[in-house]
């Protein structure tokens, strides 16, 4: 009869596995790639004469951030927390006011006629503006558009934009386009 094998001491396997674990902890990152996504306008052709796209004055709201991170939206100095409401009011134009953007009847596939606002938010900054202030304003503007989209989705589909299926989201996107223009860099503040 062969001798029974002595049980292997397995205490150290845990330690070996721990070493592996520590290797993975060091060598990898748990990256959460989240951010505010934006599409830049294409560079105008140099050979082509630059033609100004005629945008009616009432259709544009200028949000300026100067080198001191102060904000001027539509000619009114304001705090960053007020920007969202300003944009929402500007884009939706609830009272159909003359000074706020006009609306254009558009035929949206799968939805029908809808008065799409022609408003454009133009974001201008100074070279000395801090990135955090810039992104906070960007964030507020995106928040405003998200709020309008949520409203539209709530009224028409009874749920929030994020909970809709792909097709309906496309309709909402078409009804409420995110028209934000990031202007060419220029110095907003006056030279002293």
């Amino acid at each position: 009869m062969p001798k029974p094998l002595p049980a292997l001491n397995t205490t150290s396997t845990g330690d070996i596995a721990f070493l592996l674990l520590i290797f993975f902890l060091v060598a990898t990152t748990m990256e959460t790639d989240k951010g505010i996504q934006r599409r830049l306008p294409p560079m105008p052709d140099e050979n082509q004469k630059q033609q100004d796209i005629k945008v009616n004055r009432r259709n544009i709201v200028v949000v300026r951030i100067n080198a001191q991170d102060r904000i001027l939206a539509g000619g009114v100095p304001m705090d960053v927390t007020q920007v969202k409401d300003k944009i929402v009011e500007f884009i939706t134009n609830p009272t159909n006011s003359e000074s706020l953007p006009e609306k254009e009847m558009k035929d949206i596939e799968g939805f029908g006629q809808y008065a799409v606002s022609k408003g454009v938010v133009s974001l201008q900054n100074d070279r000395g503006t801090s990135y955090s202030a810039y992104l906070r304003v960007q964030n507020e503007i995106v928040k405003a558009f998200n709020e309008i989209r949520d409203d539209f989705a709530m009224v028409n589909y009874g749920s929030k934009y994020a909970d809709l299926d792909e097709e309906k989201q496309k309709i909402v996107r078409e009804a409420v386009p995110q028209s934000i223009s990031e202007a060419e860099p220029k110095n907003v503040s006056k030279k002293r």
Binding site: T13, G14, D33, I36, P42, Y131, Q138
Partner: protein, 146 residues
């Protein structure tokens, strides 16, 4: 005292390893600049991580400051670069992608919150020139920006 079996500890740790292997990605570049991302609440998740190229902007890390100073610098891959190098960087990144994926290429701008917009405007202008138009301003997601 009877020693109890340690055979299962390795299995437990292995499970932890698997968790980390699945949920993390390999570090691809060393950080040369310090980046504290700004906060934002309306962030969207990057759909395709493999189609992203990263531009880090910030102050050089402590042990590089003697050489590169404390002004904000641009880091592409593993070295400090200038705005003019972005063109080549984008070209190389684009070349590495398959034909059909190129249009979905996203440039992720990871900039420190204290960076001035001047450098970022320059980067944006350069990206427009190379028609890398999809960008994402990397941010920490918070419920409410205070």
């Amino acid at each position: 005292m009877a020693s109890f079996s340690m055979a299962s500890t390795s299995d437990i740790i292995f499970m932890l390893i698997f968790f980390f292997m699945v949920s993390t990605t390999m570090r691809e570049t060393d950080k040369l600049v310090m980046v504290k991302l700004p906060e934002a609440s309306e962030t969207a998740k990057l759909e395709r991580k493999d189609l992203a190229s990263y531009i880090n902007i910030g102050t050089p890390v402590k042990d590089k400051q003697a050489e590169y100073g404390t002004d904000a610098r641009i880091q592409l891959n593993d070295s400090f670069r200038n705005v003019s190098d972005i063109r080549d960087f984008i070209a190389v990144e684009r070349e590495a992608m398959s034909e059909g994926d190129r249009q979905f290429m996203t440039t992720v701008i990871k900039a420190d919150e204290n960076v001035r917009m001047g450098i970022i405007s320059d980067v944006k202008q350069e990206l427009r020139r190379c028609s890398a138009l999809k960008i994402s301003y990397s941010a920490r997601t918070v419920d409410k920006v205070q």
